[in-house]
Symmetry: D3
Subunit: 236 residues, 6 copies
């Protein structure tokens, strides 16, 4: 089984970080390849960045056929489009993290990077049907590319969130936090979920069961279309 | 007052059609400029097309400062990102059409082009808070670029929707239907709303009141960022 | 185009205040007439007052045909009944203010007069489908007829609401606050919406598009009926 | 214990009908007085009628102190205002019928008179928190004042509703249907609820427990106010 | 009329307490019998206890035919199963208390025993359709069997809840608090609802109207079935 | 890794069937043990059966420590209590099936056994936050113990559900259907999900990530308690 993990941020150091988490968690018979696109924002910290990361994500989906795909940014950019395009299942890390958290208690707290990204987390919670489990979204106010080096600040924000939200579980709201998972759980005393690991295992499970996106209706392959300008490569 | 109407589809004939509706409806002191991006899909008929229309929309927002902006595709692609980027207010035609319909009765029917786009209309209805007014979304099964020439089929789909959904109002679910508005209303006997006109007037109203997107938090301008590859132009 | 703005409070000084906001905002080709009923409460500060303001509102709707109508009290009294009765579109100021705010960010705060009116604002937010955008309703604790002279208190309540609710926009929760709009926006740093202006422009837009309440079903004209007692005039 | 049942329709024959249901169901120690207002519509079949029935309802509440009150029209006109005004608890028949039905199964069907009143029933279901139990609202298309004589048509509409909605219970959607309750239940084979009886017993229960509307906040007595014109009597 | 009140806790002193509340509130022609099962937990303070109280509750329902039944624990254990099994109506005290509170204002606070039971109260509020009325659930942190002797602590928690939640009404979240109802209401100044009394009167009302659970579909009697082990007695 | 799969039905042939699905799907390093309780109903076809299956499920959880647990009946009986009791994660098959389906499209259809169980499936969809994905619940009207031998009837019900609900995915609504998964998918043309397989893989994933139910609050171990009668074994 081959799973492609796509980091929508074009930062290669972040890609390496995500790769360590993804490969360490995957099963022995599951080969993980972690990449970032050749186009788009170095890091995603706004709706603007997120929207503009999508072409790169889709180019990576289209590049070569894998058994399944993970979109490794907590905004799950391009998920619907990726599901139309891909032959195998596609899972976003926000989606996987939040749904996984829902198995572990009445409610979870999301701790994200910059405060301006909290709104997107709430949107996703609603879209994925977990808003009743999502007791709070808060920010540690560390930029995406600095969060890997900010264990203490992230852990403190998690502790505060658990106390304020009275939650059972913490969801890490950025792929850049993936290495902090175990340490924060030890400090805070509740389960802490990293979406990269949750998504890799979720895609593995879907592939094992032979499941992929239903393609009879909305998620059928996109109709062929003329594309122009710098995006001409996306046409067919 | 200058308003820019952006057709996210790169089809110039569709842009001309939208321009006629937009300029005919705008107030005398409001100058409308209708454009389509230089990059992206000729028409938008999937999540894939919609996602890939966004860079072009954002390039048009960034190109030159207007008092307000309309995104003239019923999926409202790139709306959040556009609001971060633009100095003036930004309104999508699905947003304007559905909110306008909510002033006119208990519920409306959306009639869209291909069935695969119905899901997106439901997503937007929920996002905009009008799902309680949205009594049904159905498709006339005509592709986007053929819908201008398909008055009878669209009108028939509207009649059927009103009877099935027991709705008070029809919302046209594609900018390409903009010219059919009055004729369908005459045939079906209920108000029929074209999002292009509704959005132009909504932006006009916002500009008259001196209102634009609140920019203290989530919708502050995007932080400067390195962009790579064919999207390098979007970085700062 | 002629629009009638009805102040459901019978206070004539409040009517004059509303008239100034409404006429200053309307387009040159739009004639606004602002009135208050000849029957009912001097000001509306309870469910009781609001219910008893409705006959006066409906009498004003029935009095003479206009192209459109605004109900200029933040409880939107009699809106459903007015829509059955009127030939043209009818818009309430709470409805227009809250829906307008939804174009400008993730969420808004409503600041109203007496705390006892907060519940009604929540009810309307739910009815209009904007409860997901309504992040808080709070009161400045100034009676309706004193609010015009209480800029500082209202502005302070708005500042507090924006900080507490973490909102992008403020909605003024009483027609009597209409003159404070620009000054409060300057002080608080976020867009501030006055429903009188928003509703006048909304009705204008509906009239320009030739739209009125759908009247095939629930909002058909009321069936003729014998009325008795002091309300006999309302029968037909 | 004295309970006042107010028929918001000014039809005296309908009042007599309601009185029979109310008095037959009340406990021996509970004195029921059924009245209709001296002002307002003969029957309520529109939002317009309903709004204009409210002054009469409130005049009856204010007239003399009872231990509790029932508002006996399925639109529950004036309920919030009545709760501010009354010393004892106030219950609407739609409220009591729908909440009572929720004790008896997964879901109920409402069968009302004219189709144009269905929207109001849905509004109330949502307001009372029973929309998840309300599986359908349908009309028998008989005017309010003819429904007493139309047992067969009402029963047929109930049978159809139960089959279509797959419901466990029927709620009669008009006080004028009160006499049909037992017969329809026998024909349809499911529990059938008449709001008049349900509301009288609910008020009785509240009075026995010494409970009335909480009056510390929103439902405090209305502030004294000047009222003008034909409604001057409502001022204080 | 004979009503059986079942205390799902096997504590006989608590049963005696519940019996006093139930019998004092029932009508003269209504004979109340209060029991506790012969199997199960002495008190219910976890999902585990609650689940294991259900067989005892069902054994009591099956033991002898009454006109109606009350399940007198605030988690309403076994309610759906009891409705399938019983010939007469079955009402839970959480259900009755929360629905009764909804007649008395915009919102109520629930005050329960241990904090770990708050989640269950929220679940029930949602299930019964009263989550919009439920403004807060908080705990006094007194175990179930000590709550009878802890008037001051419970009253203090109620006062705090009303101030924090800005609620109109208090719902007592444990049958063991039944004796405190009047005293707390006097101290806090808002209506206070004891579910035992509310449920007894609700069942009485249902029986008087000849209503029981609809049994045509989901709540038909359970199909006969082989049961094994210590639960063999429950088979047929 | 050792996972215990508990069939809440005491039918041993059904347990064998579930065991085949569970063991065939588990990873090589994951030892699955499938059991059914020594007490309770042979099959679960009512709220009554489901409630009475819970003691047996809990006895199996308490019997011996495993790394994780699956509750293999589509009503997920005893899930909250099991989470308090177990050291490792606990997943229900309805929960796993419905959440898994949400990764694969806009919406799914549930096909269950007897019509009377549809209500429970809706309850769970709401509880798990997937009601927006659940487009329909329908029954094939085959009893639980006969469903294994009724491939054609189940497949036909699935085809009908997909056409009626316009869904992307089918969820099999009974553990007894576990063997039909691949064949029905081939016939219907959409992904078909068996909750037994989905739950086993979900528990595996949770265990691999070191995650279990958060136990700081609501899901802490149940407080020790005296239990009486035939349930005395459950006390501590």
């Amino acid at each position: 089984m081959r799973i492609k993990v796509i980091n929508p941020n074009t930062s290669t150091s972040m890609t390496a970080l995500i790769d360590r988490a993804a490969t360490s968690r995957a099963s022995p018979d599951c080969l993980v390849e972690t990449v970032n696109p050749a186009m788009g924002p170095e890091s995603i910290e706004s709706h603007y960045d997120e929207a503009l990361s999508v072409p790169g994500v889709l180019a990576e989906i289209a590049a070569e056929q894998f058994d399944g795909y993970v979109i490794a940014c907590f905004g799950d950019p391009g998920l619907d489009a990726a599901r139309e395009l891909a032959d195998g299942p596609v899972v976003g890390i926000a989606e996987a993290a939040m749904r996984t958290a829902a198995y572990l208690g009445r409610g979870f707290s999301v701790v994200t990077t910059l405060e301006r990204t909290c709104g997107r987390a709430w949107d996703l919670a609603e879209r994925y049907g977990v808003s009743r489990f999502c007791l709070g979204v808060s920010a540690c106010d560390i930029p995406v590319l600095e969060v890997e080096a900010a264990l203490d600040e992230v852990a403190f924000a998690c502790q505060k969130a658990v106390a304020t939200d009275r939650s059972d579980v913490v969801v890490l709201g950025c792929a850049g936090m993936t290495a902090h998972c175990a340490q924060i759980s030890a400090r805070v005393g509740v389960p802490v979920i990293d979406g990269v690991q949750a998504a890799v295992l979720q895609v593995e499970s879907l592939v094992r069961m032979g499941l992929r996106t239903g393609s009879m209706r909305e998620y059928a392959p996109p109709p062929p279309k003329l594309y122009t300008g710098v995006l001409a490569q996306f046409g067919t």
